[in-house]
């Protein structure tokens, strides 16, 4: 098979993977080698779906033994199959990197022959890149559930980031839709990675020469909308992963129906808005000091369609507002809808010089369309803040308080 054709098959099979980040970790590059990793993530291109391309995201093989209901590559699907040799992936990575097409490689694979067989082949790609090509760019390896601890260790030593897909938000769903994968086979490598990374950090504090273990940390991904879990269940799961497993990132991927299967829901369109809201809520967990229980409750376990999760929280907690921008501390500012990390920092930096006026807020770049309902500047409100909750909802919805349009409907090919 031509290399070109393999690329088409094996990048096409990898495209539903949500994670694109190649971010935030510096590396000691071998002196004569090629490449480094950069702080703060560089995007090299944007694909036709508008997503950032920073890595050669590809499968080593799509020839799968397993039969997960939601997956294009499942063994019962009649799709063309292909597998790369290690050399082919190494050369592609180097050829693309030298031209500045990419930050590095993101290698995943279907389960070919056995988990260990596949994992070993993937680890070999990373090891050739590091040891023979002296490649200093970014490498992200997916861990195949069920692969041996030894291979997980080797993967962590060669890669910047490793990840195990949690796939679905509950073990019942996993049993139903991905019967060959077990919760244990997923959680065991996650725990191992967390432990090894911790050991490496301690060792490196003693000696800079100690080996680095997945210095960019561990992430995971789950499919949203293929199974019946609520958003609260999903956020609780993520919260646990951040707090107990020390994960860097959880990715959510709106379920795109690619197979006919009576175990799967029939959706008019992939739940893109829900995916978007989950990312917003996830952001609140990681950077804004919210807990899953503040964002959702057992009575209202799903995220609001009309409002972003922070605005929804603000509407439920009118007692917290208005917030006085010239006095509130950082954590309080962050709770104001429309004020993000950057705006909060800017407010604090600017008010050291003089109290900030309403015009000043605009000058320093705070977007006021939602914030204006929730703040005062030296006691002066922007909008009548004594509005009844129902009225406030209306203003936010009808006025210019709404956010940029999020795609709800997909334009299907041929129908658009």
């Amino acid at each position: 098979m031509e290399l070109q054709e393999k690329i088409t098959i094996l990048s096409g099979a990898a495209r539903y993977d949500a994670s694109c980040a190649s971010s935030g970790c510096s590396s000691d590059t071998p002196r004569r080698g090629t490449g480094n990793t950069s702080q703060g993530g560089i995007c090299h291109s944007w694909a036709d779906d508008g997503r950032c391309i920073s890595l050669l995201k590809i499968l080593l093989s799509n020839d799968c033994r397993y039969d997960c209901a939601y997956c294009v590559n499942r063994s019962s699907n009649p799709v063309p199959r292909a597998s790369f040799t290690a050399r082919e992936v190494v050369d592609l990575t180097m050829d693309f990197y030298r031209r500045n097409y990419i930050e590095g490689l993101f290698l995943s694979s279907a389960v070919n022959v056995s988990p260990d067989h596949t994992m070993e082949a993937m680890v070999r790609v990373a090891e050739i890149l590091r040891n023979e090509e002296r490649f200093g760019g970014y490498i992200h390896l997916k861990i195949i559930p069920g692969s041996s601890p030894e291979l997980v260790r080797r993967a962590g030593l060669a890669a910047d980031r490793i990840s195990v897909n949690i796939e679905l938000p509950s073990s019942e769903s996993l049993r139903r839709l991905a019967p060959q994968k077990s919760k244990e086979a997923i959680l065991a490598p996650m725990k191992l990675i967390g432990a090894e990374a911790g050991v490496s950090l301690v060792e490196r504090r003693k000696s800079r020469k100690a080996p680095r273990f997945a210095p960019a940390g561990q992430s995971t991904q789950m499919i949203i909308g293929a199974s019946p879990e609520t958003d609260l269940q999903i956020l609780r799961l993520s919260q646990g992963l951040y707090q107990r497993m020390n994960l860097k990132r959880v990715y959510y991927s709106a379920f795109v129906p690619v197979n006919d299967d009576n175990r799967l829901p029939v959706l008019a369109a992939p739940p893109l808005l829900r995916e978007h809201r989950l990312y917003q809520a996830d952001w609140l967990l990681r950077f804004y000091g919210f807990s899953a229980e503040e964002i959702l409750s057992d009575d209202a376990p799903n995220l609001d369609e009309s409002f972003d999760p922070k605005t929804a929280w603000a509407l439920r907690n009118p007692g917290f507002f208005p917030v006085e921008v010239n006095r509130a501390d950082y954590a309080t500012l962050l709770r104001v809808p429309g004020i993000g990390v950057t705006s909060a920092r800017r407010i604090i930096a600017a008010r050291r010089f003089a109290p900030i006026s309403p015009e000043g807020m605009k000058k320093i770049g705070v977007v006021m369309k939602r914030a204006k309902y929730f703040i005062t500047c030296s006691g002066r409100p922007f909008e009548r803040t004594d509005q009844q909750p129902a009225r406030l909802r209306q203003s936010l919805l009808l006025g210019d308080g709404t956010e940029a349009k999020v795609p709800r409907q997909l334009v299907l090919p041929g129908l658009g």
Partner: protein, 275 residues
Amino acid sequence: MPRITLHNLLIPIVPNVPTVPFSKIHRRTPMNKFLYDGTPEGLVSAIASILDGGGDPAQAHLAVRQDTLFEEGLFLRTDPAAAEALFQRLRQGAPDAVYTLWYFMMAEVDDLETSLLRYIALAFEHGDRVNGYLTHADVKAIVATARKAGRELHRMKGLLRFEQLRDGTWLARMEPDHNIIQPLAQHFSKRLRGQTWFIYDVRRRSAAHWNGRDLSFGTLEQFTRPELSEEEKAVRQMWQSFFKTIAIPERKNPRLQKSNMPAKYWKYLTEKQGE
């Protein structure tokens, strides 16, 4: 971040500034309008003269000399030593402001001299906290301009494309809005240090060259792109296939693509050839 010198600020912009001995300006000049020769070094030196001469930055105006008959204002000659002294003092008192100044210079704007003067005066007064004083119109103007340059630099680190030539060296062409070739070349001297390459700014005819050990800068008056290597064509095709298939067909979104990657950058993007 690399260590910046005044030299960094000046190199890419105007190479040969004639140096004229510094003449001290009158302490109590009745006018508060000042002119300089339009070079970056002249700008820094003029700011030094005004601040050292005890001028009130909040009242002063600084602009490029146009040499018209009716032009009013005191012309400040370029004094490299004064420029250097101001720069050193700024680096001591407000290192972040030096980065802002560096990025500001990349923007090559020529109507913000007065704002720059006031910004630097405030930087001496407040140190690095000055960059947070965004409610001040002059600070805002300088910081926003510098930020735009910084954003394009960051973007170009991803969008620059290297092509392999017949003789095995590599070439990357670009037409950025800001004069970012110097920090961009520094970035690639770390990333692609095993290759020999050129970066060429087509709009400014300036070039950076990395020979595997050292970085040098210059200008190229005549430029024709040499032949590409055989391998280059094959790799380009593979990249184009990858680019096409990695997008999720059910989620096509050309508007989002364009807002992230404006069409002005497509000219040299391998994956956007023939669109």
